[in-house]
Symmetry: C2
Subunit: 166 residues, 2 copies
DNA sequence: TGCGTCTTCGCATCGTTTGCGAATTGGCAC
DNA sequence: GTGCCAATTCGCAAACGATGCGAAGACGCA
């Protein structure tokens, strides 16, 4: 997404006000390559600005989403994740720990919806692709777990929890 | 997904019991090509079997999902949708009314995650693709709306609500 | 027919998100 | 610098989807 300075311009141009809360959120979102939840952003923002309200985080995220500055992602259950990466990209997601990463994908424009009839006049203007699988950490952990059951080792390789780190 | 008769076999084989509630749900899911929510299934099931509990619908859907008989889909906010179509397919979704349709897609195996490095050892084993856009009904409705604002016509073409019809 | 286990179902609860309204504050005009 | 108005913040309550729990009931085998 755009830099905090640029967003400031855009907001002003639309008659929206620049508040310290918004500036903090602009900055956090601009600086992350993760896909934080509202709660994660709230936690990060609270560090820089104690007293900021979760309500404000949600509100600002809604505005940024409707302006197209961030994308709102939904993977199965759990809270929504927000993606400030404005480039044309897709996602990979670990089935085990839920971690998400951006990935560039080639060949997207060669995808062909086969049964055009069943589309029944539907006009697609965008496509989102999610690769499902297992991340390196969880793959390693499961190998370790398998070894443990056979050899009674006590290595504790815990999978990453999907912390935002925003 | 499999026929109610087949599912009955499978359930019995696993020591699970065949209840009238489950039979109704098997049948409803088998007969739809929609992507109903738990609530929608609950409504449809209540017609055939008044008194059935929403709790039971959720429970059965969870079982069928973990058995791989239905897929659980998540599109943005809102309740989960359940897809009994067991074939290899993907989805189109209308931005305006939320309607979902299955679509076969060619060229999926030619997709190439470009930056293999950024995958960092991630091993994908499945991919889900969603085309976003506008369905024929909503396209028509919006044309009508545009015409209305310029010519003051009083045609009321309402977009489809995403009823499950399951 | 009887018994053990699986199921159902209602209620309470949880996590995420939104509505509402009072108090506050940014930003422009003067 | 001051004042004003609209935009914003923020806390609380509540909507919403989904799940945990436990008592009562039903399936299915012997």
């Amino acid at each position: 997404m755009r830099s905090p300075a640029e967003l400031t311009e855009v907001f002003r141009a639309q008659g929206l006000k620049i508040t310290p809360q918004r500036q903090v959120l602009f900055s956090l979102l601009h600086d992350t390559d993760q896909h934080p939840t509202a709660e994660m952003l709230f936690a990060a923002a609270s560090d820089r600005m104690p007293g900021i309200s979760l309500r404000t985080v949600y509100q600002t995220l809604t505005e940024l989403t409707s302006m197209g500055e961030v994308r709102q992602l939904a993977f199965g259950s759990g809270p929504a994740r927000f993606d400030p990466n404005g480039s044309d990209h897709h996602h990979v997601r670990c089935r085990t720990c839920g971690a998400i990463r951006d990935v560039d994908v080639g060949g997207v424009d060669r995808l062909e919806p086969l049964d055009v009839e069943s589309l029944g006049g539907f006009e697609p203007d965008a496509v989102s692709i999610v690769f499902h699988g297992r991340c390196a950490e969880c793959a390693r952990a499961s190998v370790a777990a398998a070894a443990r059951t056979t050899t009674t080792t006590t290595t504790s390789t815990t999978p990453n929890t999907p912390t935002g780190g925003a």
